[in-house]
Amino acid sequence: MEEKKLICINCPLGCALTVAMRGNEIEAVKGNTCRRGEIYARKELTNPTRIVTSTVRVLKGCDHMVSVKTKEDVPKEKVLDCVKVLKEVTVEAPVRIGDVIVDDAAGTGVSIIATKDVRRA
């Protein structure tokens, strides 16, 4: 049996959660004051995911950079890999919100899309 500690992010209360784990199985969640705390703990300890947001350099655009995001959330341990992929990428203006910038970010199967319009200079 292993105990993991985390802070619930659902509200300003920020309950200190203690989770009893046996291997990858969650035995019990303690310290939460509502149901959302337990749901959060289960997701965060079995399959934590994040949306990654960053920027990519733009050529011949009105702006130097265009903001981008992963279209869906990706596993937390892939966040840094996704950002690393973007370091090598440049795009040429015009760029529209929703344009695919990278097809498959770091083997996650999730695409990276533009989140801002950049007109051609």
Binding site: C11, P12, G14, S54, M65, S67, L80, K116
Partner: protein
């Protein structure tokens, strides 16, 4: 001189939502004046997600959220001028502005909506001793440099203040390859959202030191390091707790101040607690036909609430232009809102029951972290609302909803009091 029905000062989230709302009420001559080279305001540099859950029921990034409203402005063919700086607004609503194409020009407005937003508190407001080397930025400036200009301010970073922009920048700088050594917060609690503390600091192992502040800055030309010290209950550094951190960059995320030079100049009364205009239930200032919304009125946590407030301001300004807005001369009477025990301010500060919508959200902030308390509203001596809260904190804006029916039931009502009570 050109004439417009409604002139909106600022093309950020508040100005955009106010403009769309005024147009939807049937106002043709609406003009937005924006000093930047594009619409959208500060949302354009907030590339992280989490915007729009209330408004669009999905999580958007800042530029996407702005993009939705800019698209509505374009669809409605609402006029706007970019790169245009408003210099002055007179009491009778003559707006003096300038830009490169037209030079200095004046516009006569029937109604004005103040939507200038806020700016960051700077180092000068903090009295940090030490030299003034390069490498000290406000968190928002660093955000603009990284996300829009594509420059990194530095490689080894300390952040003072745990406001949301500071937390977001801790993550952003880390992702861009910097080493964020510590986030220090003067108060015993963070001013940022829990979600940001977990996902921006804990995810990357960045320590948050509560009740700590910067007591010395080292470096003459370029920042070389800072000294942190723990503070006592009164915010005074405790001798012997000093700790040196070498760094080339110090980011300050120590609060936002509504930008009200124009408002003050035209004679709009300001509330010293919010630094924003004093407004009534219609978000109208003490000057008839001059409305305010968004962060120029009071600093919000969520842009969704800015949009909601701005929509109301746009609608009310439209009613004013269309002569559908009852004036005090017509017998409309206002009831003042007072704050007590734990509540710092309310927006609005007075309510005209005849003029208010069926439901009115009164927004406010508390002065400290309180657990297991009740938010109470009194009509004179009678308690009308008693809402239990597990926790309230200065970093999270609170609200109570008052109904027109409640107010009309008490014709002799003198004062509405909002306060915290023990549960």
């Amino acid at each position: 001189m050109e004439n417009y029905d409604i002139v909106i000062i600022g093309g950020g989230p508040a100005g955009l939502a106010a403009a769309v709302s005024a147009r939807e009420q049937g106002i043709d001559r609406v003009l937005i004046l924006e000093r930047d080279r594009e619409l959208g305001g500060i949302l354009n540099q907030c590339i992280h997600n989490g915007f729009g859950l209330h408004t669009f029921k999905e999580e958007l990034t800042g530029p996407e959220y702005a993009g939705r409203f800019i698209a509505q402005v374009e669809e409605h063919n609402i006029e706007y001028k970019l790169n245009t700086m408003v210099m002055d607004i007179s009491r009778d609503k003559v707006v003096t502005a300038m830009n490169r194409e037209e030079g200095l020009f004046e516009i006569q407005a029937k109604a004005v909506i103040l939507a200038m937003g806020c700016r960051e508190r700077a180092r000068g407001a903090l009295n940090i001793p030490g030299y003034r080397p390069a490498g000290i930025f406000s968190a928002g400036t660093a955000q603009r440099l990284v996300n829009m200009e594509g420059y990194m301010p530095g490689r080894e970073v300390v952040i003072l203040g745990s406001g949301d922009i500071g937390l977001i920048m801790a993550r952003r700088m880390t992702l861009e390859g910097a080493r964020v050594k510590v986030v220090a917060e003067l108060m015993p609690y963070s001013g940022g959202l829990k979600r940001n503390i977990v996902q921006c600091l804990d995810d990357y192992g960045i320590p948050l030191k509560l009740s700590h502040t910067v007591v010395d800055i080292k470096g003459k030309e370029r920042l070389e390091g800072i000294t942190l010290a723990e503070v006592d209950g009164k915010g005074k550094p405790i001798p012997g707790t000093e700790e040196f951190y070498s760094c080339d960059t110090l980011l300050l995320s120590v609060g936002l101040i509504p930008e009200n030079e124009l408002s003050g100049g035209m004679g709009v009364e300001l509330n010293p607690v919010t630094s924003g205009p004093r407004v009534n239930e219609s978000l109208e200032t003490n000057i008839e036909g001059v409305f305010a919304c968004g962060n120029v009125l009071h600093v919000h946590d969520l842009v969704d609430f800015v949009s909601e407030e701005a929509k109301a301001a746009g609608k009310n300004a439209a009613a004013y232009v269309l002569n559908r807005y009852p004036q005090h001369a017509d017998g409309a009477k206002c009831v003042p809102l007072k704050v007590e025990a734990g509540v710092r301010y309310t927006v609005p500060e007075k309510i005209c029951p005849e003029r208010m919508e069926d439901q009115l959200k009164v927004r406010f902030r508390v002065g400290n972290v309180y657990k297991n308390c009740c938010i109470s509203v009194y009509f004179d001596d009678k308690r009308i609302i008693h809402k239990k809260k597990a926790v309230v904190a200065p970093g999270e804006m609170e609200e109570v909803v008052l109904t027109k029916e409640q107010l009309l039931e008490v014709p002799a009502l003198q004062t509405i009091i909002v306060k915290l009570e023990e549960a």
